[in-house]
């Protein structure tokens, strides 16, 4: 049983230190947060976001750079805590948000299976039971005995994806980097995501690739400047999102 409920979430990314005076003026971007004395204290990454995802949802998150996609995933993963509002996640969740985080580079692939499995709360018995599946799915063969720092980006991704999905999470949070895989692996990954959503899990996938989103998602959320601009079926949201490019262009040329 999986459910995600995001209730009025606002999150300010704190900043510390001295900044250019232009950032403190009245015409500075509105997402900058200042204290009573007018000093810059943070950037509003998420602004009053609310939505509910039921079991079996496959949701894409779209939006321009800096719209809050990754921050939202991190909040859903329980890594970041909102300043206002709350996030409720029912079901065991796994995230693959940044491929370079959460691996031990000088340890072997096999050792990383153990470490990452433990870090995500699995017992040794469970990890050993899944090791064969991870070996087969990642298709890394003898490379699993080499340190991870000898891997290419695509190989790292295969390993992390194989580990994350082997334990049958009920909620899977993925950021862009799925696209680092080759075509064959993307298909394999897509099938695995479909099968796990069919078992009533929830998939949340942030991406800039319309093809990837259409292939894996049924609905989508469009974020703009930290707010939900639109929520609906994936095709509608992607179409409206694409139309907004023209809007932005005509605005800038006018």
């Amino acid at each position: 049983m999986a459910l995600i409920h995001v209730d009025n979430v606002t999150l300010v990314h704190p900043v510390h230190g001295q900044f250019s005076p232009s950032l403190q003026r009245g015409d500075a971007p509105t997402r900058l947060v200042k204290n009573a004395a007018g000093k810059l204290v943070g950037v509003k990454a998420l602004d009053k976001i609310s939505f509910t995802l039921e079991r079996g949802s496959r949701v894409g998150i779209v939006g321009r750079n800096g719209s809050g996609k990754t921050t939202l995933l991190r909040v859903l993963a329980g890594i970041l805590t909102p300043d206002v509002g709350s996030v409720t996640v029912e079901g065991r969740s796994t995230n693959l948000i940044n491929i370079n985080l959460g691996t031990k580079d000088d340890a072997s692939g096999h050792r990383n299976i153990t470490l990452q499995g433990l870090a995500h709360g699995h017992s040794r018995a469970e990890i050993e039971a899944r090791r064969g599946d991870i070996e087969a799915f990642s298709d890394l063969g003898a490379f699993l005995d080499l340190p991870v720092n000898t891997y290419s980006a695509g190989m790292r991704m295969r390993l992390s994806f194989a580990i994350a999905t082997a334990f049958k999470p009920e909620v899977l949070l993925l950021d862009e980097w799925l696209s680092a895989g080759d075509e064959q692996f993307r298909q394999k990954a897509g099938e695995r995501m479909k099968s796990f959503v069919a078992e009533a899990g929830i998939l949340v996938l942030a991406s800039h690739s319309s093809a990837l989103l259409k292939q894996n998602c049924t609905s989508a959320i469009w974020l703009e400047e930290g707010q939900v601009r639109m929520e609906g079926p994936v095709d509608d949201v992607l179409a409206a999102y694409r139309d907004s490019f023209g809007e932005a262009q005509s605005k800038s040329s006018a």
Partner: protein, 274 residues
């Protein structure tokens, strides 16, 4: 298996959230032991002598100090070696907590930013890792002592609660410094500067009972003196000074009070700071 996680500003701040973190993290012993062991191995990976470096560097230091400083003490030759052997192992572990505490979360940034494990896991991992050289050094010290005429008495058992107090305080110190060091980057520089001094103002290379005046006064306000005295005295067959016992109890409570307050107030923002 189903679980529900609610995250909000209220659910991750406060004493309750901190205690919950410490308890949940403690139960994940398999995780922090494995990570600690992995870090010990990677620290000595590709060195020919590997883990024996822990023993070698310890023996070089204790041997050298005993030779050069032995003449300054009224303690007999072997007695001074015992004093230094235990004192050095213990002080290195204790002051190591200061610098490692500052880095305990920053060094694990990659995991803190990708998993929702309790933060205390990183503290337990850090202490498990630094306990490893401590245990090796202590074993060497006791072995050397047995061969140089040391005969343990029942008094030795008092070192066990003393060691427990050292470990319990280490958790609080690393937890507090982990947050403070992540938020205020100057703290680690301060600590690195003070750390070197601490070896000299704690009675490791000299004997507290032989000193008077200024040196003694400084040693007595130094918290490490008291932890060291209550641990070392029983091992050398002496009853620890009741004043030091009281100081250790008070300091342990104070360290935990600080850690709970710091963690309660700062833990929400940790991922942004590291």
């Amino acid at each position: 298996m189903s679980e529900t996680r609610v995250t909000s500003a209220a659910s991750v701040s406060g004493i309750g959230a901190t205690v919950d973190d410490l308890v949940t993290g403690w139960r994940m012993g398999d995780v922090w032991r494995t990570f600690a062991w992995d870090e010990i191995q990677s620290r000595y990976r590709r060195s020919a002598l590997g883990l024996s470096w822990i023993a070698i560097s310890y023996l070089i230091f204790v041997g050298g100090i005993s030779l050069f400083f032995g003449g300054f003490s009224s303690k007999s030759g072997a007695g001074f070696v015992h004093h230094v052997a235990i004192g050095y192992a213990a002080i290195m572990f204790m002051i190591g907590n200061l610098s490692e505490g500052c880095a305990v979360f920053r060094g694990s940034a990659s995991w803190i930013q990708s998993t929702s494990m309790p933060y205390s896991v990183y503290v337990y991992k850090g202490i498990a890792r630094s306990s490893f050289p401590f245990v090796i050094q202590l074993s060497i010290a006791l072995t050397v002592m047995v061969f140089t005429g040391w005969r343990p008495t029942l008094m030795v058992l008092w070192a066990i609660p003393a060691l427990a107090m050292i470990l319990i305080t280490s958790i609080a110190v690393q937890l507090a410094l982990g947050f403070i060091g992540a938020r205020f980057r100057d703290v680690q520089h301060l600590i690195l500067s003070v750390q070197r001094l601490l070896i000299f103002i704690t009675p490791v290379l000299w004997v507290l009972e032989e000193r008077e005046g200024m040196i003694r006064a400084i040693a007595m306000v130094n918290p490490f003196t008291h932890y060291l005295q209550v641990f070392r005295a029983p091992l050398l067959g002496d009853m620890p000074d009741p004043l030091s016992v009281l100081a250790v109890l008070g300091l342990t409570v104070a360290a935990w009070a600080l850690a709970l307050v710091v963690s309660s107030r700062m833990r929400k923002r940790l991922p942004f700071w590291i």
